[in-house]
């Protein structure tokens, strides 16, 4: 794309450290992991490490979904309220009945897909900026869930539903328990990487870099953007299953997740506005953010500071990304 016109040396430099590169986040992650290792060596016991990955899995999955949307030049602000809606709907429909688990999980995934599809179609066919589309969807979901439940979730999730976010394959030698959440994460991460290597991924990057050029070159711009929203919606649905499983029914479960996911993506070196960055970077960004929050907790920093740190990261990452893009 744009890099093709740049001299090889500059291309190499940008490739390794410039905007969209994953190396800065890898360095930050390693530094944080070293800091945690010094402060709390037990963090590296395999069971503790897997428990940490289990808690991080929903955010990593959300960040992967958000990546597809952001790299195409859009935003998805509806994922947080979608997660809340999914958990509340699942609890109400399952109402403690194990037999309902399978159909409700299918419905949860279907609903995520539908919300993503609506976001995508409104943004591409009606030409509403995705920022406004998904902000509207956010408000619609918040309002609809509040109206439907009267402001407090009813019903209960079954143990079978909660298993995915809470349990794992037990009795594995040395590792202890392998959480299902980590296995689901690995599968989705592999799928995400494959998707970005396919033609779809290449068109998506081209659309984010320069939509007009992509259209003139024969890329189905509206199609790939819509698919990106659908992917984000489905990722939110999976995250909802994991989060609901991990913590149980709550009206707060998705609050603020859209910004945490965007922070993670930006931290992973993905450029807001689209066109640059990798899905691996976005997922590493989420892992880095979780690691940072864990470290802050270990250091005894109060929880409320976490949101301030998150805000600083967005500003710093975008500012640094802007500077790097200029060099």
């Amino acid at each position: 794309m744009t890099t093709e016109t740049i001299a090889p040396t500059a291309q190499a430099r940008r490739g390794r450290w410039g905007a969209g590169s994953i190396w800065p986040v890898v360095v930050i992650l390693v530094l944080l992991l070293v800091a945690i290792g010094i402060r709390q060596p037990e963090f590296y016991d395999p069971p503790a490490l897997l428990a940490f990955l289990k808690r991080s899995a929903p955010l990593i999955i959300l960040a992967a979904g958000q990546y597809f949307v952001i790299v195409a030049g859009d935003f998805d602000l509806s994922v947080g309220s979608l997660v809340t809606a999914e958990v509340v709907i699942a609890a109400r429909l399952i109402d403690g009945d194990p037999a309902a688990t399978g159909p409700v999980i299918a419905l949860v995934l279907g609903f995520g897909l539908l919300v993503g599809l609506v976001n995508g179609l409104v943004s591409t066919l009606l030409l509403v900026p995705s920022f406004i589309t998904t902000l509207g969807m956010y408000l619609i979901l918040v309002g609809a869930v509040y109206t439907w439940t009267g402001g407090s979730p009813r019903g209960a999730l079954s143990e079978e539903f909660r298993m995915f976010g809470r349990r794992g394959i037990e009795g594995v030698p040395w590792l202890g328990e392998i959480p299902y959440a980590v296995l689901i994460l690995l599968v989705l991460a592999a799928l995400a990487v494959l998707a970005m290597r396919s033609d779809f991924g290449k068109v998506l990057l081209a659309v984010g870099d320069n939509p007009r050029a992509a259209r003139l070159a024969g890329g189905r711009v509206a199609g790939v953007r819509t698919v990106a929203f659908v992917i984000s919606g489905c990722c939110a649905a999976v995250a909802a299953v994991l989060l609901g499983g991990f913590g149980g029914v709550s009206f707060q479960v998705g609050a603020g997740l859209e910004f945490t996911a965007i922070t993670a993506v930006v931290l992973g070196g993905v450029v807001l506005g689209g066109g640059r960055g990798s899905v691996v970077g976005a997922m590493l960004g989420a892992l880095t953010l979780q690691t940072l929050l864990t470290l802050l907790n270990l250091l005894g920093v109060a929880g409320a500071l976490a949101s301030a740190v998150q805000g600083l990261i967005i500003l710093a990452a975008v500012a640094i990304g802007g500077l790097r893009a200029r060099t």
């Binding site: 709390q40 428990a51 809470r166 029914v249 707060q252 270990l298 005894g300």
Partner: protein, 397 residues
């Protein structure tokens, strides 16, 4: 490329502000939490909400004997002084009106069910008109004005906030007898104000349990929903007094936003950081199950834990044989205003203030309150099992 990034960023910042208003409950400042977390031990500074006289009063009420039928705590009163209501006496049937702050949490939903069922017990109530302010002060003020134009014989108010609703309640007092319950108002004009003992008693009950059950020097983690809410500040204020007097080590005071996943993560992090946590204190029990699950998932023994009277916690307590206690803020208080309104309209004296007993669920009486047929978020201390429509109307089977 750069201009697009710039505009996207500006838009993101703008939306961040919009969404922060409605999606985030993260406190702007929490001096007590940061103070204690930095020290790694202790309970931080005393909050500006702490009122010694109120604290002393509530501690006294905890040991007071209630007057009234023992099997109907919603008709009982602690240290009552009666208000004369002869001037409100009128012949039935009656039009009762109720301005509700909202039904935005399971506690208020159970309570409102109790009230509706209580109304059905009294044939002399011809109509019961209810407005729902949806947790908005301005809506509740106009709700009260509307209700005054609808021929109410008596008005029950559950105020959304204390100070803002005071003028509206005063305006209503001039026209009809007013009964206020749950949160109060800054005026003496209502005929009676009904509520249980209060936040200090609630907080103290849990903290004292931990000082009995946890060995000296044990690690305590205090979990609060959010700062700055008077009743929650009172609960923590009383717990702090008890912990400060004890040998226990409060290793952290954290805010959970009432979010189960966040609670579980916080507890997991503390378990990782301190190895063992011997006691969990909570200012409200909604996330007690999540806190206990964090121990289970980490393969650690359950701590001594303070919850509340929600069925999910009571069930877990019974199944896993927890060392637990459940202070309650009983939802049966929603029955009392209807009873009070009818007494007032019949000219019978009513206690003012009407202080209801505030029982605590312990191992000894747990079995009375566990009911697997009720939904997990149902509040057991509802005094509702004898009401018409129970258990179906409360979501039970």
């Amino acid at each position: 490329m750069r201009t697009r990034t710039g505009s996207a960023l500006a838009a993101l910042a703008g939306t961040a502000m919009i969404l922060a208003g409605c999606a985030s409950d993260v406190p702007a400042a929490n001096p007590s939490a940061s103070g204690s977390a930095a020290a790694g031990a202790g309970t931080g500074e005393t909050s500006s909400f702490f009122v010694q006289a109120d604290y002393d009063n509530e501690m006294g009420l905890r040991s007071a004997t209630a007057t009234g039928p023992a099997d109907k705590p919603w008709e009982q009163a602690l240290n009552p002084t009666n208000a004369d209501t002869a001037k409100y006496k009128k012949a039935g049937p009656y039009n009762l009106c109720f301005s509700n702050a909202g039904v935005g949490n399971p506690w208020r939903q159970v309570g409102f069910k109790n009230m509706q069922a209580e109304v059905k017990l009294h044939p002399e109530i011809k109509s019961f008109q209810v407005t729902d302010a949806e947790s908005k002060d301005d809506k509740q003020i106009s709700d009260i004005t509307d209700l005054l134009g609808k021929g109410c014989d008596a008005l029950i108010v559950s105020p959304n906030t204390t100070a803002t609703l005071t003028p509206a309640v005063e305006q209503a007092c001039a026209k009809v007898p007013v009964i206020v319950f749950d949160r109060g108002v800054n005026t003496k004009c209502p005929v009676t104000f009904i509520n249980p003992i209060g936040g200090y008693a609630f907080g103290a009950a849990g903290a004292e349990f931990l000082t009995e059950k946890v060995k000296p020097g044990g690690n305590i983690l205090a979990l609060r929903i959010l700062p700055g809410v008077d009743v929650l500040e009172a609960r923590w204020g009383a717990a702090k007094v008890a912990f400060d007097k004890s040998q226990l080590k409060v290793v952290g005071v954290e805010f959970t936003d009432g979010d189960a996943a966040k609670t579980k993560t916080i507890v997991s992090n503390y378990l990782q950081r301190f190895g063992t946590i011997d006691g969990i204190w909570m200012d409200a029990g909604a996330t007690a199950v999540a806190a206990a699950e964090a121990f289970e998932d980490a393969g650690k023994p359950f701590p001594a834990i303070v919850g509340e009277d929600q069925q999910d916690f009571l069930r877990m307590w019974q199944d896993k044989k927890l060392t637990a206690v459940a202070p309650t803020y009983p939802t049966y208080q929603w029955r009392t205003p209807v009873i009070a309104a009818l007494k007032i309209l019949k000219g019978e004296p009513v206690p003012n203030p009407w202080k209801l007993p505030q029982p605590t669920i312990t191992d000894a009486n747990l079995a009375q309150f566990v009911d697997p047929s009720m939904p997990p978020l149902h509040y057991a201390m509802c005094g509702c099992s004898d009401l018409p429509g129970y258990p179906g109307d409360w979501g039970g089977k």
